[in-house]
Amino acid sequence: MNIDPADPKKPDRDRFVLSKGHTAPGYYSTLANRGFFPVEDLKTLRHVGSYLQGHPDMKHIPGVDMSSGSLGQGISAAVGMAISAKLSGDDYRVYTLLGDGEIQEGQVWEASMLAAHRKLDNLVVIVDNNNLQIDGAITDVNSPYPIDKKFEAFNFHVINIDGHDFDAIDAAFKEARETKGQPTAIIAKTVKGKGVSFMENQASWHGAAPNDEQYATAMADLEKVGEALCQK
C-alpha cells in the first residue's frame, strides 16, 4: 500500500477501512509496528484516556482512515472513498476488510450493489471467512454461503484464496489491481485464532483475553509458526 507513517494523512495515500472494527487490536499492532505510533502505547488499549479506543477512531489514531465498529458500515465509507477518487481522477486504491458474519448486514449488500454499479475497480473488499461469529458457526446462525457466488451476482470480480497463504494473498491483490471495470472481492478462507493451539476455531475466544499461562503458551505457539514461515 502507498502509505507513509511520517505523513499518515497524505492525500494520495491508499486507504484501508477495517469494517470489522472489533479486530482493532490486530490493526493497532500492525500500525504501531509499521511506525504510525509507538509500540509501547499498545499496552494502553481500552484504558481510560488512551487514544487507542476499543474500536478504530480516525480522529485520534494515526493511520486510521475511518472510524468503525458498528458492523456493516465500514464498507459504505470505503465505497465513498473510491467514488471520490473516481470523481477527481485520483489513483489511490481503497481496501476494506469484512467479517463473514458481518456480511449478514443488509448495508453490506447496499454498498456492494453501488460499488459494482459505479464500476469501482479501485476498491477491494476482503472477507475474512473464518466461519465463526459470536453465537457460533455462521452456518448454524444464518449462513451467508455461497459468499463468492453472492459477490459474483453483485458483479464483483471474485478471488477465493487461503487467507493464511502469503503468496496467495499477494497474487490476489495483484490480480485485483489488474482488474478493470469492476470491484474485486477476495474471499479469504481463514481459521480464527490461527497458530494458537487452544484458540483455533473456538468461537469462545472471540473477545477474550488470555491469562498469563495461556499467554505464554500462545506466544510459544506463535514463535513456532513464525519460524516455519521464515523457513519457507
Partner: protein
C-alpha cells in the same frame, strides 16, 4: 392584501445546491431515489457527474457520504427526513457524527405538512434524534430566503449539519434587505412584552400572524425565529423570557425532544419560566391536504392564537 410569495423550502434546497455547485467544485450531492422530490434534481441537471444516486439505500448513502467527506469533498446527502434521520440514524451517529465528518444531511419532507403520504412519511421525531448526536448542528429554516442562506452556512461550517426542509410551499417572510443568517443566532421578528413565542420552521409565519391577532386583543407577543436548534441561541431565549415571563414554543415536530424541549432545558437550568409547548402532541400524523393537517394538529395561526391567549390568562 397583496399575494404573498410562497415557496417550499425543498425547492430552496435544490436551487441553493445548484448555486453552491457553481461556486465550489468540492460539493457532491447524494440522493436515494428521491431526486425529483428532494429537488436535488436541480443540482443533477447542472452537475450530473457530481450527483450520486445511491438508489433506495439510505443507510449506505450516509456511509458513502462519510467516506467522501474523509477525502476532503463536501457531500450533501439527501432524502426524506423520515429516512435520513430515522432509517439511517445509527449510520449518521456512528459513521458521520462520531468521526465528526464534514457531511451535510439535507432532509426534506419533514413534519406533518408532507400531507397525503401520511404517518409513515411524516417525520416528527428527526430534530429529537439529530440534536442528541454530539457535535451535530441542526437547522430548521422558516422560508425560502432562510433555507438558501442555511445551505450556504452549512457549507461554510466545518462539521456535520442536519438541514430540515418542508414539502409545502410556505410564505416568504425574510425578504428584507437587512436579513442576515448567522448560524446559532435567533432572529427577533417582532418585539413584545407580555409573552414570548419561539417558533421554528413552517410555524414561524403562522406565529407572526397569531401575534398580530393577539395584539388586537391587547396582548403584546414577542416572536422569535429559531432557525438553528443546535447550537441554540440560549442568550436570546433567556433575555426574552426575562422580559415577558412567559414562553410559548411552536414547532412542526413532536413536543418531545424538539425545539420546545431544547428551550425548556435552557430555562429550567437558568431561569425557570412557565412554558407552553405547541407541536405534534405525541401522536402519529395522518393523510390529508397539508394545510388541513396543519389546522387539525393546531399549528395554524388561529390555533396558535387561541392557545397563547388561554396561556396568557
Amino acid at each position: 392584501m397583496s399575494e404573498v410569495k410562497k415557496i417550499a423550502t425543498r425547492e430552496s434546497y435544490g436551487n441553493a445546491l445548484a448555486e453552491l455547485g457553481k461556486k465550489h467544485e468540492d460539493v457532491v450531492v447524494l440522493d436515494a431515489d428521491l431526486a425529483a422530490a428532494t429537488k436535488t434534481g436541480v443540482f443533477k441537471k447542472a452537475f450530473p457527474e457530481r450527483h450520486i444516486d445511491c438508489g433506495i439505500a439510505e443507510c449506505n448513502m450516509m456511509g458513502v457520504a462519510a467516506g467522501i467527506a474523509t477525502t476532503g469533498k463536501v457531500p450533501f446527502a439527501s432524502s426524506f427526513a423520515m429516512f435520513a434521520a430515522g432509517r439511517a440514524f445509527e449510520q449518521v451517529r456512528n459513521s458521520i457524527g462520531y468521526p465528526k465528518l464534514n457531511v451535510k444531511i439535507g432532509a426534506t419532507h419533514a413534519g406533518i405538512s408532507v400531507g397525503e403520504d401520511g404517518a409513515t412519511h411524516q417525520c416528527n421525531e428527526d430534530i429529537a434524534l439529530m440534536r442528541s448526536i454530539p457535535g451535530m448542528v441542526v437547522i430548521n429554516p422558516s422560508d425560502d430566503i432562510e433555507a438558501k442562506a442555511a445551505v450556504e452556512a452549512a457549507y461554510e461550517h466545518v462539521g456535520p449539519v442536519y438541514l430540515r426542509f418542508g414539502r409545502l410551499a410556505v410564505p416568504v417572510i425574510n425578504d428584507n434587505p437587512d436579513y442576515k443568517f448567522e448560524l446559532g443566532k435567533a432572529v427577533t421578528l417582532r418585539e413584545g412584552t407580555d409573552v414570548t413565542i419561539i417558533a421554528s420552521g413552517l410555524p414561524v409565519s403562522e406565529s407572526l400572524a397569531a401575534a398580530e391577532k393577539l395584539a388586537a386583543d391587547g396582548i403584546s407577543a414577542e416572536v422569535i425565529n429559531i432557525h438553528t436548534i443546535k447550537p441554540l441561541d440560549e442568550e436570546a431565549v433567556l433575555k426574552s423570557a426575562a422580559k415577558t415571563g412567559k414562553v410559548v414554543t411552536v414547532e412542526e415536530h413532536s413536543v418531545i425532544g424538539g425545539l420546545g424541549s431544547a428551550v425548556c432545558d435552557v430555562l429550567a437550568q437558568n431561569a425557570p419560566t412557565k412554558v407552553l409547548k405547541i407541536g405534534v402532541n405525541d401522536v402519529f400524523g395522518e393523510s390529508g391536504p397539508a394545510v388541513q393537517l396543519i389546522k387539525k394538529y393546531g399549528l395554524d395561526a388561529d390555533s396558535i392564537y387561541e392557545k397563547v391567549k388561554e396561556f396568557c390568562k
